[in-house]
Amino acid sequence: MNAVLLERFVQEARELLQTSASGLLTLERDPTDATAINEVFRAVHTLKGSSGLFDTPALTRLVHAGEDVLQQVRTGAMTLDSGVVDLLLDSLDQVGAFIDQLDRDGTLSGDADRIATHHAGALRARLAGDTEAVVAVIDAVLAPAPAEWLAGFPVAEREALLARARGGEAVLAVRYTPDEGCFYTGTDPLAAIRDVPDLLAVAVAPRAPWSATTDDFDPYRCNMVFTALTTASREAVEQAMTYELDAVELRTLADAAAPEAPPPPPHTPPAEPATLLGEAGRHIVRTQLRVIASGYDAVRLRSTGALIGNLLRSLRQDDLRDHWEIALAEAIAQEDCAPVAAFLARLDDAPVATAPAAPVVPLLAADPAPQSSAPPPPAATGEPRPASKTLKVDQGKIDLLMNLIGELVVQKNALPFLARRAEEVHGSREMGREIKEQFATLDRLTQEMQGAIMQIRMLPVAEVFERFPRLVRDIARRLDKQVELVMEGTDTAADKTIVEALGDPLLHIVRNSLDHGIEEPATRVAAGKPPVATLRLRAWQDNDCVVIEIADDGRGIDPARIRSVAVDKGVVTREQADALSDQEAINLIYRPGFSTAAEVSDLSGRGVGMDVVLSTVQKLGGRVSVSSQLGHGTVTRLSMPLSMAVTRIMVVDIGGSLYGIPIDHVVQTTRLDPTVIQRIKHREVFVLRDEVVPLIRMTALLGGQPAAVDPGRGEAVLVCRVEGRTIGLVIDDFREGMDVILKPMTGLLADVGGYCGTTLLGDGRVLLVLDLKELF
């Protein structure tokens, strides 16, 4: 630097050494004197900071070792015995000698490095965890990190870290290249790299360049490579990344790695194209992005606002400053940092303004237009697109089409009413009949249309199942369990929305099963089971539902334990718990608050409980049931609607009101002569094709006055199949079948049981659609 600065440093260093030495002597008499410890630590710390201003790595290395020892003393990790005090005093004497050399010669002698290493080694040997030994191992085994590893770090940060490494600190570079399919195996790469202790910095880069278009972009493929720098020991790093060691490379960040011209000029320009901001500005902008990401804070936003305003003034970007003011005002008005964040993100990679007249639009692109920086569509390029028989269509278009067809289906339901009016009001039977004929054709066409559009949206459940073999294998290996996964019915199809939404609940249930249900091989053998557990994923279609079953042959759920845990966690009271049947107790696992940190394991924990599974499934109109036999395993069954769209129902008259019944349940309609109705005990039954079918009088269930039975026609009975059982519903009259879009019961009606939803009739009335599964 310059002579004045060095002179000042020599003076300061002598004062600090004096302070440290007298503090250490105080400490030798009373090792618990906190004031003295802090004083000595701060003196050495300041000395380290100042020494970094000069090109004296030997000095910095030695002071740094002393600081590390004092840090451990300060935190109580090390007690300060006279041996340590001696070592520290020796080292300080050596530092004093270095300072004398600097004062006299302006530089350190040739053997300074060796001497400093010797003293620093003696100090580090006293550190808890024996870092010295580890350092030696690393030095022996690990090669220095290649320069490209460090290319992802900002220049300033990289320089500072290299300076530390040159100063003698053991800095490790961790290169983590997660498996491409890691998202399917439950690995969270970011969490994994964050687990590395004593992180100094992390850089993320794509391992292959991002393609310019989204056509072949696969969001499920991990294209990241992480580089982390840490002061932790190699063992600590390996310990923290046990599960991902295959994907990890370790190097030292040592002198050798530090290229003398640190920002390698051939590398830098492609990585950071000429931008408006430059190195300093980019650091400022990225820091602000990071700071505001923590949430809206008026004071902070104001400070960021002033700061970026200054930055833009500094860069003479007056137009951008106006836009910045607007974004800022928006953010303040909305109490949301989003507009500001968007501006900053664009500013971050804004190119150098080529002409002064260019500036306005790009940074405030309020329209959701494609990114202004995106290259033009590849249409003009010479590569012809391969002819393909599949058509990629935006999902939104399919959804729109489906909604329109849904509307059409409902609208056509008005025609039968029209036909009746033609007959009854206008007295034209012929017109009525013609309308009905037209209706029949329209009905058939819309049904086909609907089927076709639904086919487009149908996906096999294999889409979600396929990630499980890998996932189960990996998790089982981590848990030292042996599990065979059996998957059945993978080609069962359901609506895309349903299939895609099934992923998370399934993952959660499978994890639970592996973690809590399936036992270790030894435990299994002791219980007389085969050491390899079986986990069965099955899917099949059941009427208008797709059923997914996750069955394991593990230890099952212990209702007694569930009761006590639920009581402990305040989910239910002791009295309530005791009153529950075993099945009801098991169902408690779906209550919010049941699964909490107390049973967090690294796999199924994370504070998300089965209640989330339940709410996800219910949101989609499905249901979850779990049954378990203690010692024999657990079966969880998700029953999801096949499609989110149109349901075909039959309208019936019960007690003077109209109700809908999903047609998938209806086996047949019949009229029973009262004489064929028999009684078994107090229940009415009748015999249908050699099967005894119980009869249920719907007016008794739903209220209303039963209509008088026309003796000539008999009782109207709708024979239905509900979860494998056949029942006969005694109603007053049959009406037409129709396709409807079911709207779920919301608001005050949300908790009313027995209905799967409502729909509008062609004449504007609201129709309640019965949920037979819930009723019977």
Binding site: E12, L199, S303, A306, N310
Partner: protein, 132 residues
Amino acid sequence: MTKPHVNGKRVLVVDDGMTTRLYYRDVLETAGFGVEEAVNGVEGLERALMGAFDLLIVDVNMPKMDGYEMIAQVRVDPALHDIPIITISTEAGERDADRAYSAGANLYMVKPADPALLTETAQMLTGVEMAR
């Protein structure tokens, strides 16, 4: 040393290391900033509240009151809500940076800050128009 073209902006440097303070003074005065110094958080807070500064550069580890505490106290004063604050520390860890940001710092730099980078940063934060 050529005498600087004065840019009219004032910087308060708060650091207990006198060499470091001199270094910042050197770098910043060369770029035309007016520089004042404080040797710990208590003194730094006092001076920040009194004088009209355009930028604070604050060390983290200082006697009497550390940098985090000082920054938090500075931000309490409505007049100082939007003054740019840089923390400069020997620790390159993310955790220290986060702590500085949550105290109210706008930027975190690692010691020893490169002179050119420090100059450019200070100019940007205070709105000094940079040479093209």
